[in-house]
Symmetry: C2
Subunit: 588 residues, 2 copies
Amino acid sequence: MAVLQTPPSSVGRTTTERVLLYTEEDPLVLASGRELGPVEVAYETYGKLSPQRDNVVFVCHALTGDAHAAGYRDDASKPGWWDNLIGPGKPLDTDRFFVVCPNLLGGCQGTTGPLSTNPATGKPYGLDFPLLQMSDFVTVHRRLLEHLGIERLHAAVGGSLGGMQVLQWTLDAPSQIDNAVVVAASSRLTAQNIAFSAVAREAIMRDPDFQSGEYVGTDRAPHLGLSIARMMAHITYLSEEAMSEKFGRRLQGDEPPGNRMGLGVDFQVESYLNHQGSVFLDRFDALSYLYLTRSMDYFDVFADPGASARIASGGTRFLVLSFDTDWRFDTTHSRRIVRTLEHAGASVTFREIRSAWGHDSFLLVVPGYHETVSAFLNADGRDLRSGTPVHVPGRPDLDEVAQLVPVGSRVLDIGCGDGDLLAHLVHEHGCSGTGVEIDPAAVLTAIRRGVPVIEVDLDEQLDEFADNAYDVVVMSQTLQATRRPADVLREISRVGRRCIVSVPNFGLWRHRFGLLLRGRMPVSRELPHPWHETPNIHLSTLADLEALFEHLGLVVERRILLDEKAAPMRSSRAANLRAGAAVYVLSR
Amino acid sequence: MAVLQTPPSSVGRTTTERVLLYTEEDPLVLASGRELGPVEVAYETYGKLSPQRDNVVFVCHALTGDAHAAGYRDDASKPGWWDNLIGPGKPLDTDRFFVVCPNLLGGCQGTTGPLSTNPATGKPYGLDFPLLQMSDFVTVHRRLLEHLGIERLHAAVGGSLGGMQVLQWTLDAPSQIDNAVVVAASSRLTAQNIAFSAVAREAIMRDPDFQSGEYVGTDRAPHLGLSIARMMAHITYLSEEAMSEKFGRRLQGDEPPGNRMGLGVDFQVESYLNHQGSVFLDRFDALSYLYLTRSMDYFDVFADPGASARIASGGTRFLVLSFDTDWRFDTTHSRRIVRTLEHAGASVTFREIRSAWGHDSFLLVVPGYHETVSAFLNADGRDLRSGTPVHVPGRPDLDEVAQLVPVGSRVLDIGCGDGDLLAHLVHEHGCSGTGVEIDPAAVLTAIRRGVPVIEVDLDEQLDEFADNAYDVVVMSQTLQATRRPADVLREISRVGRRCIVSVPNFGLWRHRFGLLLRGRMPVSRELPHPWHETPNIHLSTLADLEALFEHLGLVVERRILLDEKAAPMRSSRAANLRAGAAVYVLSR
């Protein structure tokens, strides 16, 4: 490996470096078997490499990104495309992390791509440039790390195509990445995704100025096609909502519509797209656009049945994020990634972040987004190593539940709150596990303390979890708030070898007599909400519940009755009348 | 008005007719004030005009449609684009209706458009063709009717741009249309809608072969631009789901991907789009595409504050339909139309039809879609004119409710089932009204008997209805099944001057004692479901409910207690203990 320049210092970059990673004699061997050389890579670094070289965060950029992820220290005129994420005190904290970001192979911002000189002809490759697969990007990234003397990554982070590179990496080198952050990405494109890219490529390749890709050096380039491609792509990057908010139906200028209705650029949204199409021509190349979009089309990282197991084998912790208005890669894409990783037994945290801004959100500051990345990357597991009380307001049964979980179990805690029970189980019982929660503040706290948390709708999405994926599924004070308790019980008993379910008892004598004598729906410690606002939409007595267990073929292995103060009852006499709540251990 | 050919016979057409509706001397005056002449219109008719001329159904076509909506009787080689809807025994039953379908102004299938000869120059108009507004299409449609000797329409029917014409028509000639069917349409495009059209137009106009619109007679035409436009449009016509089902990620041919990965047409979806782009060139013109899409961009039928009131003044009955996977004009567009019409006091029926096929669904046979159109167009109101019993299983309280509705009231019946109560009220009490229902079979029955029905989610969408829009809102046996009963009560008391609310009583002695003695959640005539499956997720006693009324500032004007057999109770002693259900009349 020839080094063009001096190796990087261990301080923040102030320029883009370029390094020759492969030569014509020692070429890059692509996944397709084709060889490519020389290969030069442009990259930047920010922050300081620690003496142990254990603080490296690698940033993979998206389709039209480049190596300049963060602004130069002394030159405010060239902001980086991810300045809001990278810098001192930011989620990719350059006071703590050493951040590396290269331009990817096939790009047009300093790294070898279709516009580079083909040594065989002395002319630009054009369409002779080889097609690239996601693995090829990763191979080059890894060679760059080698060049930098780095063996492991604290984290790899990427949005969109960047996230796809991160995913591929965890497959190609399962133990090189400790934390993988995959934002607004996909494990494989849908027909619609491919369709948009296909039309963009047609626009470019049918442009007469494309000249079969040999436009370099002529006075023409496929500007028509590339700007149409970019305009169309921009529609898919913004949510409908964001576009409406940003432009609505407002016209350019001030004249009333009647005076100026025409076929030109009348509406503000038209002006915006035209501008986007036009400025893109200055910074991007049509051939790179063709090649990189095609790599995305063909990407199907989990197609190999062994893939997910390989990924999981590396012990990488995954953070998968989607944005609710992203319709380029909507949440279904992220859920597929989560499901596959989760089924493989990997440690996965997933959130769908609310944002008005669609796919573009991964580049923006959106409430909850950076906080989650920061919590994930900075989770030090301190809470997990110290004794954690499990006396949580609203979950008075957790101490009882905790005692029922065998040492070393893999636990799914449904309705995990901020992770108290899991933290306790990890510390005291040597367990591992995952939480399910929807309260945003609780989720963030759980992530911060190192508990993997997955946001799912209990009534719809428990199929994220595989059959018998967990030794124990805990569901505390949640069943009565689901829309279809029987289906939820079926699901959790499919996922867990054992289930520990705790419920309030509507049959408690005070509820019964309250209803009988006062003629009012009960409000109590266990049922604190008025009838019309309660989340407890399927209340039952213990007798009702036990009948349902039986109907579903669930065996009650153990039952612990709690009195009205959540203390275990000594006797089970008249349980249905006396218990304020109960904890059941169930098996199929 | 000069007639080019003999007036149409009163039997089904077997050819496309053309008629000169305006001449250079007697030109069409456009909404913009510009004049256009001559104007010739191509149209077809199917079925037989009744002697009373009262069976006319006018079909408005969408962006790239034409006059050939149904196939010729004796020529199977030329199917019509709406053959599945039009024909003997079909929803637009040509045994019953006389169906008229013209090519619209600005089109390129026989009606005057940008390719027609400009009398001022002797050459095609090209970009000198005037810009058109939705009203201009309607003006020409109406002139065609005049030519055919038709004054009123039993119905006007259109999908997408066709539905937009129908909407405009009800504004421009409020009493000409008895029934308006508006499918998968919009009252105004969003920024995203405009953006897609804008990129399509840019692709056409930037195509060097466009030659400023003067390509006719040259050997070039903007085929690149027009086919890119069409490919892109096709993406928006299909749902993501449909595209995935139809093409998935399947490749063309049989070779394994590794052998053939390239930048060409590898995936089946690419082949499909290429084909669509290419066949379109044979049947459509780029200039018409520019003009017609621009008319859609500028369309904003309710922008005039007086518009909806004008529409409602005509007494037209509206059927608005959307498809749940349509993302070109999603259900939000239809809901906006429904809300505006409903606020204006018009008779509106609305359904969101489930379909996998996106915007294209309006051209396809989708379960529930044609049935609804047929039910609406063939509603004879017979049930409304005869006495209708209101003893409905599951709604034993309806007889009581009916007696509480004043004669001549405008009634909103929430949870209207198949419209029994409304049918009864219309017949017996001279009322008018609208139903709200979500059960598809019930909705269809209600529509068939002439009851306007709107599908809304009670917990989210009662804002479809304006303040004080109804004299009486009836909500029978439904409140306890809503997610937020207090919010629903607030909403219905905003919409109705009076509300009639009936509920089951959880305080019934049998429920109480059942719970007390048996320790099980009650199952009874009023509460027939087991606890874990019940839709009644917010049960209350009458005492609870009355406390909530008071809290919300609702005055109980009357209370009727029903015993366990739904018969009125003579005494209100121990009501909370003895009543199986109650009917309340509430006012603010």
